[in-house]
């Protein structure tokens, strides 16, 4: 088995903290785009291929993909302290901002103009999630099995409102079994 090449550079904790602060503060409307831009294009810490590998790894691990990517990159270039520094930079500022939004919401959330603005934004936010579904659907193989799984997950969680644990507990093993059999 091929050993992945050890990163040539080590990056200081401070630099990791600052870099991930920058990524997260630019990340209006999703951080993934900026992570790629800064890590690959601006700083050249990762090649395009390495970025894609780490990003898909981050998607695979439970939890928010971009957060996982932060841990992976921090750990790769700075060990444990690097991971901690990257995570602190990544979370500190958005935490403060989101709480600021909470303060504003509690103070002004009842105003009619704010309510109507939020109503419009809400429709867009819901459509944005649906567009992610559509993008995934476009590349899903046209066979009955994956689509049946998708429909069952939707009906169980979205229509019948069963707890996610039950639905995943049944569907995830089935999905793994199906994918494994297909591969044989």
């Amino acid at each position: 088995m091929e050993q992945s090449p050890a990163p040539a550079t080590r990056i200081s904790a401070l630099q990791l903290f600052l870099t991930f602060s920058r990524i997260t503060l630019c990340g209006f409307g999703g951080v993934g785009f900026w992570a790629r831009r800064v890590l690959v294009e601006r700083l050249g810490w990762l090649t395009e291929k390495e970025y894609v590998e780490l990003f898909s790894l981050g998607q695979l691990i439970p939890g928010p993909p971009v957060f996982n990517l932060t841990v992976l990159v921090g750990h790769r270039f700075g060990g444990w302290t690097g991971a901690a520094a990257a995570v602190s930079g990544f979370l500190l500022w958005p935490c403060l901002m989101v709480v600021g939004m909470g303060v504003l919401y509690q103070r002004y959330g009842a105003l009619p103009q704010v309510r109507s603005a939020l109503g419009g934004m809400l429709i867009v936010a819901a459509a944005l999630i649906f567009s992610t579904f559509l993008k995934m659907a476009k590349v899903l193989p046209l066979s009955w099995r994956p689509w049946l799984l998708a429909i069952l997950a939707f009906v169980g969680v979205g229509v019948l409102r069963w707890p996610l644990f039950w639905v995943l507990g049944v569907l995830a093993p089935l999905a793994l079994l199906a994918a494994w059999k297909e591969q044989l």
């Binding site: 091929e2 997260t24 503060l25 990340g27 209006f28 409307g29 999703g30 951080v31 898909s56 439970p62 939890g63 928010p64 957060f67 996982n68 841990v71 750990h75 991971a83 995570v87 979370l91 958005p94 935490c95 901002m97 989101v98 709480v99 939004m101 909470g102 919401y105 509690q106 603005a117 109503g119 419009g120 934004m121 809400l122 867009v124 936010a125 819901a126 459509a127 944005l128 999630i129 649906f130 567009s131 579904f133 559509l134 995934m136 659907a137 899903l140 799984l149 998708a150 069952l152 997950a153 939707f154 969680v157 979205g158 996610l164 644990f165 995830a172 999905a175 793994l176 199906a178 494994w180």
Partner: protein
């Protein structure tokens, strides 16, 4: 509205983020079930609005749980709902990072990924319909949904512009 049991909320979130495949929007239906339906800690409208507000802030998408936690119980609530995101993600990422340096091919990883994509899709669909149900929909709202979808599928504009356009449409009384 009921009182918040922070310990129970913490444990439920923690368990949930351990199985959060495919990103933060797949656990949104379960948070809605837990916070709005099972425990009546907030209304469906509050839930949807807090989610939307968090999307308009910079930073990762999962911060909607931080905002909801803050809304429920101030800083203690924000921490109660944020720390559970970090524990599974950090431990599993570090574990995988370590294993990946040893077994870089990741065939098992790819198998998992491919197997779980359909379930992720179903959950995304559920999230989106739950949010849509939280607002009173008329035909103009559905039209805005369709326009947003058309723009997102055809361009690579930053979603923030679309949220801003949605806010504008709301203020002007178009939806």
């Amino acid at each position: 509205m009921h009182r918040v049991d922070l310990t129970a909320l913490f444990l439920h979130s923690l368990a949930l983020w351990f199985v959060a495949i495919g990103g933060p929007s797949t656990v949104l239906p379960e948070f809605h079930r837990y916070l709005v339906e099972a425990n009546q800690l907030m209304t469906s409208t509050d839930f949807a609005e807090l989610y939307t507000l968090a999307q308009a802030a910079p930073g990762p998408n999962f911060m909607y749980v931080t905002l909801m936690g803050w809304h429920l119980a101030g800083w203690a609530g924000a921490l109660t709902m944020t720390i559970p995101v970090l524990i599974p993600a950090t431990t599993l990422s570090l574990l995988v990072s370590h294993l990946n340096q040893r077994y870089p091919n990741g065939a098992i990883g790819r198998l998992f990924n491919r197997a779980l994509i359909p379930i992720t899709m179903g959950l995304m669909c559920a999230s989106s319909t739950i949010l849509m149900r939280a607002v009173n929909h008329n035909w103009r709202a559905y039209l805005l949904t369709l326009i947003t979808l058309a723009v997102v599928m055809r361009t690579s504009w930053n979603p923030l512009w679309l949220l801003a356009a949605g806010a504008m449409a709301g203020v002007l009384g178009l939806v």
